[in-house]
């Protein structure tokens, strides 16, 4: 089962390598990883998407929490949550017809064209991972995808629940 795990950790050099190392060392899946400092810049927040049964997820949670640099960990998929992923896609726009169709598709998916050259459009789109997958599939039928980059999932719990130090 797919899980989204949030981790609050010290923003120290080497801290991230401990997390990544742990996943490979213990044979856990690491589908995506999104990390940046938070408002208190001494801390970083990571969002990890992984796949595993309950026993594996329990071990991942415990092992990550055991790292000295880690303050808090929570499985967002345990409760209701908001998750978003950002993607930049560069598509080839070889004709006006393709350009029009690309623009229409971008509008339908509530994306934005953020860069234009005579040969291609660069599109920014945000949403759940499923939505981004669907966008890529649809777009591939209209225009050639030159390259794309995704941030990986980031997420927060809904409502009052919060992960603070």
């Amino acid at each position: 089962m797919r899980r989204i795990i949030s981790v609050l950790m010290e923003n120290e050099p080497g801290a991230l390598s401990r997390i990544i190392g742990l996943f490979s060392q213990r044979g856990y899946n690491l589908d995506s990883l999104c990390v940046a400092p938070i408002d208190d810049s001494s801390l970083s927040r990571l969002t990890i998407t992984t796949v595993g049964d309950d026993k594996v997820i329990e071990q991942i949670t415990k092992q990550v929490n055991k790292l000295i640099d880690v303050l808090k960990i929570s499985d967002l998929t345990d409760g209701s949550h908001v998750e978003r992923e950002l993607m930049l896609v560069k598509v080839a726009t070889r004709s006006d017809a393709i350009r029009d169709e690309v623009k229409r598709t971008v509008d339908i998916f509530r994306g934005q064209v953020v860069d234009i050259t005579p040969r291609n459009y660069t599109i920014e789109i945000t949403g759940t991972s499923d939505k981004l997958d669907a966008f890529v599939q649809t777009m591939a039928q209209t225009a050639e995808i030159v390259e794309l980059s995704r941030t990986g999932v980031c997420g927060l719990s809904r409502g009052e629940k919060a992960m603070r130090p």
């Binding site: 080497g14 390598s17 130090p165």
Partner: protein, 572 residues
Amino acid sequence: MEMMSGAAMVVRALKDVGVKHVFGYPGGAVLDIYDALYAQEDVQHILVRHEQAAAHMADGYARATGQTGTVLVTSGPGATNTLTGIATAYMDSIPMVILSGQVPSMHIGEDAFQETDMVGCSRPIVKHSFLVKRAVDIPDAIAKAYYIANTGRPGPVVVDLPKDVVNVLESHPYQFPDKVQMRSYNPTIKGHMGQIKKALKTLLDAKRPILYVGGGAIACDASSLVTELAEKLHLPVTNTLMGLGAFPGDHEQCLGMLGMHGTLQANKSMHNADCILALGARFDDRVTNNVQKFCPHATIIHVDIDPASISKTVNAHIPVVGSVKSVLTQFFEQMHEINETERKEQLADWWEQIAAWRARNCLAYKTSDELIKPQQVIESLYRHTQGDAYVSSDVGQHQMFAALYYPFAKPRRWINSGGLGTMGFGLPAAMGVQFAHPEAVVACVTGDGSIQMNIQELSTCMQYGLPIKIISINNRALGMVRQWQDMIYKGRHSHSYMDSLPDFVKLAEAYGHVGIRVDKPEELDAAMARCFELKDKLVFMDIAVDQNEHVYPMQIKYGAMDDMRLSKTERT
């Protein structure tokens, strides 16, 4: 504030932490620190012959005392040579701090001479690590390293010190922190009261309970509490390889070690128990055998300071996170008066059953007139040390024989590499023990394979006058490998023999020690007596034993805990 160089800070911080002994080897990147060591007498440095041995010495020191062991090595090969020692300590949760030199900060990443990424190399086998970037951070990093190493579940911590940071030519203010506090590190020591009540009720109601005691009970010095609990509740007790001595091996309620080479009574009792109270043990594969068939009737109560150890392999029905010491103290607070007669009555059938298993006398073995049996050697060692020595061990058959035939009555007396199974551990570990307890009798049980993995330390023993007694069980083979080849590979002994062994007696003498060769059963006791009469000498006992002896009992692969071979021809 006092001003001093980074190198002086390292030595001063060690003193402020309370370090008495440092095991190490100098080199380019740590010359400044070695210069600072030269000018003082608070911290004694012990010069080893190989950095791996330095790590094992610090490890043995820590196991025998509970205090954190300290290693000091240079960058590159000095640092990487300690890795096996660090992994050994990590697997057995031994508190250790490794100070490693590093190339100057400005050269990190340039593949400079003797550069390795020590923090990276050691990352999967340390509890934590520090790369110190500024001299003023040294006291804080060292204070934290020792705090982390020896709190919660203990483990090794690396402190990597670039050469420019410890430069003797620069001065910086030194301030040692009064108290270490880390917002991201707060191990749970006390158990959850609700869980404790539940655990206690289950334990008291059980008809076939057993205590399964591991190294965690020794790490937090909970042995007397374990014994008190066992006696109060009349419980049978089995110790893991790491837990030997946590509950006295010569106690009438002790069933001996459990697991792959555990006793019949220990494994049978585990398999048939209706309640297992695991104290600081981690249900590893050398205990459980096939997890799917593991103890089908038992409610499992698992007390461990490391939440990640709970339900990792075997699911715990009642998990209790906390130190064995705190949790047992809480147990006693919750326990009502126990009626001894009623209690014994409640467990009478269980003890009767256990007595029947014990009657099989699974450790019995046949002696011979011509060949010494390895079991005899350990029994002789036990007699000549009155069961009260510190015994370190290497890895292999001799390790299992020592674990089974030397019933340790006290904790911290059995010093062995349990989790990693590191050959070459025994001698340097014994040396660490001897530094911690200069007056104690320290024996190293080893074999002709293991001893050669760190034999160069005989030189260090001479330099520091360590009167260790090396009991080398020489079967001219890698005994445990050979045993498996006999059992599983139809006796095809692929590279498990030792051709052209040295003359160990002469070798010991060449290093300035005493060597004694024994090959006849009738000579064994007299030779052992002579060995321990030579109190101030290191004695190397080269004891030729029967090459074909196997360690029994032995669990049968893929089976349950109690599926065992009892001899070459018998099984359960």
